[in-house]
Amino acid sequence: MADIEVKGKKGNPRIDLTPMVDLGFLLLTFFIMTTTMSKPKAMEIQMPYKDDIIKEEDQNKIKNDEALTILLSKENRIYYYHGIGNDPANPPKVEVTYFKDKDGIRDVLIQKKKTVQDLISQGVLSAKDRVAVLIKPDLNSTTDDLINILDEMTINAIPVYAVVDITPVDKEFITATEQANPQ
């Protein structure tokens, strides 16, 4: 333990620096607790331009073959079907999946991209056509679901996607699928 030298001796008086160190660490702890190094991250969203004056004919340019409709539902469940689903004579096959890394919605999206690529090379779709995803969240889905699906769009590099309102037809698809698979 350092002592202050006895008065009689000449030479450098030794000062104990232990309290100075304590002070330094106290200030350090204060700054570590109250500050943050990272600014919050932001995800950029561009919603489709909606104007009441723009007519319907300009809006539906998505082809049935390139489209995938995703319905977000309760408990992080995802219902999806290929196509736009606006043909009442041919109801689409609605399937269920979840936000899993394997066998989830990501694999569905990757598969869809491959399918559209094949259709382009076969000549069914033109070279300018790309995968288009319509995202329709229902009343029981959460913000987590919305952000996760938008993130999946970025992760899988889906070029065209839009968040649109869910239609009564889609709501019926969901109830029909739920009734067919009671759990």
Partner: protein, 213 residues
């Protein structure tokens, strides 16, 4: 043999402590006061939010709060709202708004809220009802639209950020997005937690493939 003294020279330790302190003082910034607890969802986005933005906070129960971080604009905004909505705020209350945190009450309750000090306002925020965002009505009843429009007038280049709780239901977040849509605002940001890019995906190839080149 006489006993050797066991003193250690603490100068070096003191230097280390102050170097660490200087690093933290220069490299970090104070966390903004957040009375409303929100758990944001995760996303792989690495874009940092720029300064000069308006923040709309949506908590789990669907309550909407509004805040602006530019102090000069805040004063102009509250003065315009005071005049147009006839709130009857005095100078202290206007000052309380400028230094205070997010607002989550109707215009009619603003005077009583701003009469409290900022720390009392934070306590009140826990039970505040939130700003009305009635999109079925018109511009007049949707108070969030009024806040946003007034703020845009004073901060024309500001970006919009929505900090929504992951468990907030879709109809609530849709109301906020619809309010922005009514004001012709289609480009905005969601504040998210950072999340790693999953391996083997297109984004992974793009991100790490480019770096390797």
């Amino acid at each position: 043999m006489p006993r050797k003294s066991t003193h250690i020279d603490m100068t070096a330790m003191c230097d280390v402590a102050f170097l660490l302190l200087t690093f933290f003082m220069l490299a970090t910034s104070f966390k903004p006061p957040e009375p409303v607890v929100v758990r944001t969802p995760g996303s792989t986005s690495t874009v940092a939010i720029p300064d000069g933005y308006m923040l709309i906070t949506l908590d789990k129960a669907g309550r909407v709060f509004f805040s602006v971080d530019d102090v000069i604009a805040k004063k102009a905004i509250i003065e315009q709202i005071n005049e147009e909505k006839g709130l009857g705020l005095n100078a202290t209350e206007i000052n309380n708004f400028v230094i205070g945190g997010p607002i989550g009450v109707k215009f009619s309750q603003m005077k009583s809220l701003l009469a409290l000090s900022p720390s009392q306002q934070s306590d009140f925020a826990k039970t505040a009802p939130g700003i009305p965002t009635d999109t079925t009505g018109n511009y007049e009843t949707n108070e969030l639209a009024f806040w946003i429009a007034t703020s845009r007038y004073h901060m024309p280049k500001a970006r919009f950020a929505i900090k929504a709780d992951g468990e907030a239901k879709y109809p609530e977040i849709n109301r906020v997005i619809a309010t922005l849509g009514k004001l012709k605002l289609f480009k905005f940001n969601f504040i998210t937690d950072p999340k790693g890019i999953p391996a083997g995906t297109a984004l992974f190839e793009e991100h790490y493939g480019n770096k390797a080149k």
